[in-house]
Symmetry: D2
Subunit: 326 residues, 4 copies
């Protein structure tokens, strides 16, 4: 393999708090190791269009603490075709880019994997998504901040739930993954947590709520991950209302505010470590791989080793949620 | 009028951050002035049921900074009838309560006014509602916190809007009042603010958004007060989408999280001043009145002087919003 | 007076949260009214050096929610001399600047007043200081945010004070002014508030603390404004320790963290209104004046009308603090 | 070993955010497993005095999100003597307590270990300390929240540092441990991090700052862990000022505000898991051990296995801090 001198960095998929910290780490570590760093705007869409910009220390000044991504993100249909990827590769070659560092979720990873298979472009993926649904790492960038945002909202809603003896259904993000729901549910003291990975029985839920109601527990929070088979928070609330008359019921959908906000120390530290590791990994010849964190240590996962296996939800956390919601 | 020795305090209507600080101030100032203070739970509902409790300094320990209301709140249909109010009055008499301090919105004020007219029960109202829609005071308790909560959410959504070049419609609370919408809209840098007090033309809104789109302004926030004639955020977003193809559009409804949370210094200070003033007002023979703040000074408004006039929205703030959204 | 076409804007003195929102409002309102706006960096120091930059909408993009000041601030000894001011004026003329809008405290106001007297340069001052110690306005930009920052810190310290039955002395900012101390003290539930405007008797303080100790009140917070005659928080704590053995005593000096942070809605709204008003004021021929807020309304104060009178602390707030700290 | 039916729970040493969540989990899991739970107030001091209280679900209502510890904490000299521990044991026996769960740092762990050796009292320790300086666990309860509090303060100070081109020395907690300093330093973008575990050369620091000054980096943050051999933040700042004239230098000592505050989701989840695990561990016959977290999994460490080995600071994080501070 040729020496890597010039590296393109981009963000892709849904934005996540800490992506800017990762971009900053890639740029600063790149400079430290005498690489040239090129920012690619709007993910694969900007890659196809050649929307590139040279980056130096000043480009990433004062972004460490900012939510969102200064390189912007977008979804690109064209890149999903071999023709689109060929265009992208030609843009990269025209700009003498030797390797890529992409920050995003499994779609971003898969995109780079295809570019690697079809055109031999070396790359490292940095897992950045609030959903924490990528195998091969204990945590993804953005998950810690998003869960704290959810918990802060839950804390606020608890105030008003307690004041009015109400039952609240709170919908949190996590399309195919219950991580945010489970963690924010335990941390928020939810009576029940509904996740995509498990079927929830409305009858059992109603029974549990009624039992609480009889014990004079007059307000309760149920956390619902969006997009589960059990239905949306709104749908579940409707079904519960039909079967139970004990509660004044409300629904709140937290929505996109979970994506933004100043990243926590955890996400900034994780992003900083992963950004440095991505540069060092490329320098050491690693490719077709994703940076991960295990314990406190950086690891590298080959695409084929992790993307063919599901990331299991922490079953034990669910068990603990049930014990604590007596 | 007889001397007032024993005062009942309660919260009523939607809860608002700072209500606990007001309860604390009523109890502590009451003790300072050698009054007995009785807490009435669940607003007029608890008044009818005689759900009372003696309060001392310990009852209000460590609640100054808590959202919600430790006395709980509820809506009572029965109290809207003369019979219901008679029951409530008899409960108050049975417990030797000489006067009331109620913390809430216009419904709470009106309720006490009727009790005063029908049964001669002296009272002072403390304006506590996030909507800021009560005449006779510059600010109501809870409005400052709720607006900050809305702005914090808007800041988070802006991060993701900027990252994805999106148009966001954000629905804030304020059923008949655009205060939260205007203040959070200006503070959040909204391109447009839609309030109940004004008709909004969808065509003008689309034109404004398109103009921004042409100037390369690729993300925008529109703040919508719930319950306006122009429709909900969801409905307005649908109409805009039909007429404009420039934007990727999303809707977020902030909902009940605006009610809760640790009150700001402003709401705690306001609540503390109003709580002391309510006790001092009753002691000085004031009744059938609401405490208000003008400037930095406490004032008292008689029910008939303020409840028959509408509270005007700050027209000049709307003008400023338009200048700043060029 | 000639028509004003080109306006210089700068920040001066200690930075305050919301200054960026004011700069943004000046630039956007300037463009709305067809003015050219020139940013002057580093206050009077940059004015003397001609450190200027044309500003447009892009210059102030995404700064509304940022603490600090993008135009930076500095203290300038040279500007305090007539020669320094002459240099500054010549730089302004060279750049065809017709008028100034300066955002800062009384030093900034006085500086522009001298420039106006000596060289006829029209100007409007916008009061931006966390200390709230400027007459002619209910609030200065930054005070609301700084007080909330202080209260958030006090809330955190209360947690640990309660857990360990400790007495904490917390020093807040406000060199000659007790505003932050009084407001954060009432909002934070302090047992005593020590401000520069009043002499505090250590004996009375000790007596109060001992009385609380006997009533089993085992943790207490005392708020001290820096720089008062009664001494620093550290000095007062030492004196109290000598005379009282009831408490485990700690001191925390909040310091510069009170200056920074995302501005509250209140400071952003205030800054937005004042920024627009400054442009409109200059356009209407107003000069040698400061924008102020009374109630919800913008007012203009001539330099001579307000700068010769002290701003009184709210005596009534102190009285309320005492009632509530029983 | 006899069956464990009645368990005493207490907090000891410096308080940490999340201790309440751990108490709640112990009580709720205890009830789930049909144990009686007794709260012991003020750590070992209250244990010696027999300051006990039966706990049920209501005792721990609405404490999940509170900083500090509802059971209070204290330091006890008497417990460090065999006689003190004998008294404590007799109080426990008198109250029929079969086992202990103590939440605290190494002092708390050591205390229970002695009680176990001398009197055979079974126990599990839950690591609760903001310093994260206990071997056998990736994280201790309180560390995540305290580091976020430090980073929030650093973010605020950065605003004012940038506005005034200043050099700030910020002292964070961590008496013998640089964890908070390293994590908050990387997350806060510090130019240098000074920890107890490493000697810092003032000359190298000055050289680094001067190098930055020449590159037009006009503001910088240095993070200093309290109590290191290199001196306090104040002392280091003085030494730097003597050798460098480039900067306007300020010092801020964050102090006790790092101990308090609403715990993050991470600390609440960690505390919840550890609380349940402690009950389950005792039930399964585990004793003389501390709960720890590795990865996402609960582990148990025997006292002798972990308390004789130092907890190493993450050397790699320091290396990353240096790469990023170019």
């Amino acid at each position: 393999m040729n020496k890597i001198n010039r590296i393109g960095v981009f963000t892709s998929g849904g934005d996540a708090p800490g992506m800017n910290a990762a971009i900053r780490a890639v740029v600063r570590a790149g400079i430290y190791y005498n690489k040239e760093i090129v920012g690619i705007y709007r993910g694969y869409e900007g890659m196809i269009e050649g929307d590139f910009e040279e980056m130096d220390v000043r480009s990433v000044a004062n972004i460490l603490q900012r939510g969102g991504t200064m390189l912007k993100s977008a979804r690109s249909k064209e890149f999903r075709t071999p023709e689109g990827r060929k265009k992208a590769f030609e843009q990269l070659k025209k700009s003498n880019i030797d390797a890529l560092i992409g920050i995003g979720g499994d779609g971003s990873f898969t995109g780079m994997h295809h570019l690697y298979l079809e055109h031999g472009m070396p790359y490292i993926c940095i897992p950045g998504t609030i959903d924490n649904d990528i195998p091969g790492t204990d945590y993804t960038i953005g998950y810690d901040t998003a869960t704290n945002t959810a918990v802060e909202a839950i804390d606020k809603i608890r105030d008003t739930a307690l004041s009015h003896n109400r039952l609240f259904f709170i919908e949190v993000m996590g399309r195919d993954s219950g991580y945010i729901a489970i963690s924010s549910g335990i941390a928020g003291g939810a009576v029940s947590i509904i996740i995509p990975e498990e079927e929830t029985s409305i009858d059992e839920l109603v029974e549990k709520l009624n039992k609480g109601g009889k014990k004079n527990k007059t307000s309760s929070l149920v956390i619902v991950a969006e997009g589960g088979k059990s239905g949306s928070a709104m749908e579940i609330a409707e079904k519960v209302k039909e079967k139970s008359s004990y509660f004044d019921t409300k629904v709140t959908i937290l929505g996109h505010l979970q994506r933004g906000g100043t990243p926590t120390y955890f996400d900034r530290l994780l992003a900083s470590k992963m950004g440095v590791a991505a540069i060092e990994g490329l320098d050491q010849g690693k490719t077709d791989a994703m940076v991960g964190i295990r314990h406190h240590d950086i690891i590298f996962n080959k695409f084929d080793d992790i993307m063919n296996q599901p990331k299991d939800i922490h079953k034990d956390d669910l068990r603990i949620a049930k014990i604590l919601s007596i």
